[in-house]
Symmetry: C2
Subunit: 338 residues, 2 copies
DNA sequence: CTGAAAGCGCTTACAG
DNA sequence: CTGAAAGCGCTTACAG
């Protein structure tokens, strides 16, 4: 019994022989190019069907120098990615941005392999371009890819000083809006739980909050840090209350952080918004599942994925006049927590 | 200003010229083959560094007929995948199974594109093999891939009558164990909320429950259906109670279904396990977050992903004596709900 | 240890 | 409308 994979795949050459035409003609049929007689086309299609011919992509890529696939590179571990609704939305957006382009998506988890392997894969002609998301710190990856000639667009502003185009939510204005809202509603001792300081989202939302506070001549010393987790938010809220027990408002840099903060506040018997006002960021599904429902800064994550991908594909196609980077608007959604 | 992607990538030929050796020697260095003098190796490595040379994968694939990447094909929409912890665990397992193999993972969402595009991609020499998960109904995809000579291993038993190797949890024994547990603990009117009947998990767990009931000469007419969602579980539980108000035990084909059932039971003022015993399936994180905590049948999903991938890689490498299929054990975990 | 040459399976001008 | 030929950038026997 011969294992099925021993079977040698038919080549274009064999299709040509069976159809009684030249390789050129077969190639034209496969690529749907004009200038083929009905008769020849029919013969080729028949032969393709009979032989179950599938074009060899490697050969095709080698000559066309295109692969018809793009990569989504996630600078995170696989389990983090699959557990976070942020990535689900990014992925939806990426697929939406690719719709109709007849391209494949290759998903790569940067943290699951060594950098060189990833870089060689991306630069080795496997993909036509890459969307890179969730960069940490001053990751040199984007610059390396660009230097190798690969079209790259980032989701989120990079921290490294590179001129790689990116699409991001306007996090700074989002943080500013949150601070202004808390000020406008009469809060006096406003704190923030900032996100990670190795990511632009963390830095920019904090900078927005600081600017809002500065506008009103308020001090900005009530700052705690948290990663994007419930536990982190809970711990940061506790630290904040320990250092500044009279805090009466908090801007949390993400809804998931706000959830953690809510938990700590409940444990300490503090009412939201009566004792402490709380503003989140994201307007994720979490925001309306809490009690009280979260006032939060909305960002459109799916749109982030779509815009980034559309921008990348335009670049891959060689379109001109593309924006270096794009900032998508954020919007305050007022509910019950502030 | 020249866009960076205009830069022509250096070829092996140029490396050879700069290093003052032949293409053969460069190739040997790149592929870490023996029989290269220290001097030649150093010269080549220098040239590679200077030119920032990265081998062209398409050319390499064309001649070696290997791509060093495998596909994980998920027969679901992207958003479903990213929202479900099942896939997070499968992915972890797949990465664990690939560890040390220096291969890339290409993630493909079958439902996001037309079948032909997917098939051409997979059969066109882009990947060395495929793990296919979450097949629905009698999907012809696996048979097609195998016919095209692509090594394929499935996560989960396929419904179509094909001889494609698969790795699955022993769902039948799991269902049997659940039924026996309910019988042993004295339950008299035992129902089940079965999973989708277009998936083996749904069919096999139900079959196990039926067998357990038959062993004890019990009737098996208390059957409701649900998809893998909380809402589905809640609705199925309601339907079950409406048709058979005296039901005193339920085997739910998944923890997430059991969560929905719990909700309905609470709404109707029925106590678990006093009025109705409930057994779930999966032992996911959900099982211990409910009140009461779920008695459930544990399956090791990460191991499912790892075993499937290891089996695939062994086949790709041409190893012999591989098992046609593998069934991983399931285990009853007794907690508070039954 | 090294290199010249053939060939992987396609596409693409080019000539007819 | 069609085909012969060159070439994409590698690897792999083969000869030395």
């Amino acid at each position: 019994m011969t294992p099925p994979d021993e079977r040698v795949a038919p080549t274009l050459e064999e299709v040509a022989r069976v159809a009684g035409v030249s390789r050129s003609t077969v190639s034209r049929v496969i690529n749907d190019l004009p200038g083929v007689s009905k008769r020849a086309r029919a013969a080729v299609e028949q032969a393709i069907g009979d032989l179950r011919y599938v074009p060899n992509q490697a050969a095709r890529n080698l000559v066309t120098r295109r692969t018809n696939s793009i990569a989504l590179v996630v600078s995170e571990h696989g389990d983090r990615v699959f557990g976070d609704p942020f990535f689900a939305k990014i992925l939806r957006g990426v697929y939406a941005g690719m719709a109709g382009s007849r391209r494949q998506l290759v998903l790569l988890m940067a943290q699951e392999q060594d950098d060189q392997t990833l870089e060689n894969y991306l630069c080795g002609g496997h993909v036509d371009g890459a969307v890179v998301v969730s960069l940490h710190g001053r990751d040199p990856l984007p610059a390396r890819l660009v230097a190798a000639g690969l079209p790259v667009v980032l989701v989120g502003r990079p921290l490294a000083e590179v001129t790689v185009p990116y699409v991001d939510s306007d996090n700074l204005t989002g943080g500013l809006t949150a601070a202004r809202h808390l000020l406008r509603t009469g809060r006096q001792r406003i704190a923030t739980i900032a996100g990670p300081d190795d990511m632009a989202v963390g830095i920019d939302r904090l900078a927005g909050w600081r600017r809002g506070m500065a506008e009103a001549d308020r001090r900005t010393d009530r700052v705690a840090r948290s990663d994007f987790s419930v536990e982190g938010g809970a711990a940061a809220m506790a630290a904040l209350l320990d250092a500044h027990p009279d805090t009466d408002a908090v801007f949390a840099a993400a809804d998931i952080i706000a959830i953690g903060a809510l938990r700590t506040l409940a444990e300490r018997g503090l009412r939201v918004p009566e004792d402490i006002a709380l503003v989140g960021f994201d307007d994720s599904v979490l925001a309306t599942s809490t009690a009280p429902r979260l006032t939060t800064v909305r960002q459109d994550v799916e749109e982030l994925g779509r815009t980034t991908t559309a921008r990348l594909l335009a670049q891959v196609k060689g379109e001109g006049g593309l924006p270096a980077s794009v900032l998508l608007p954020t919007e305050l959604v007022i509910r019950d927590s502030a």
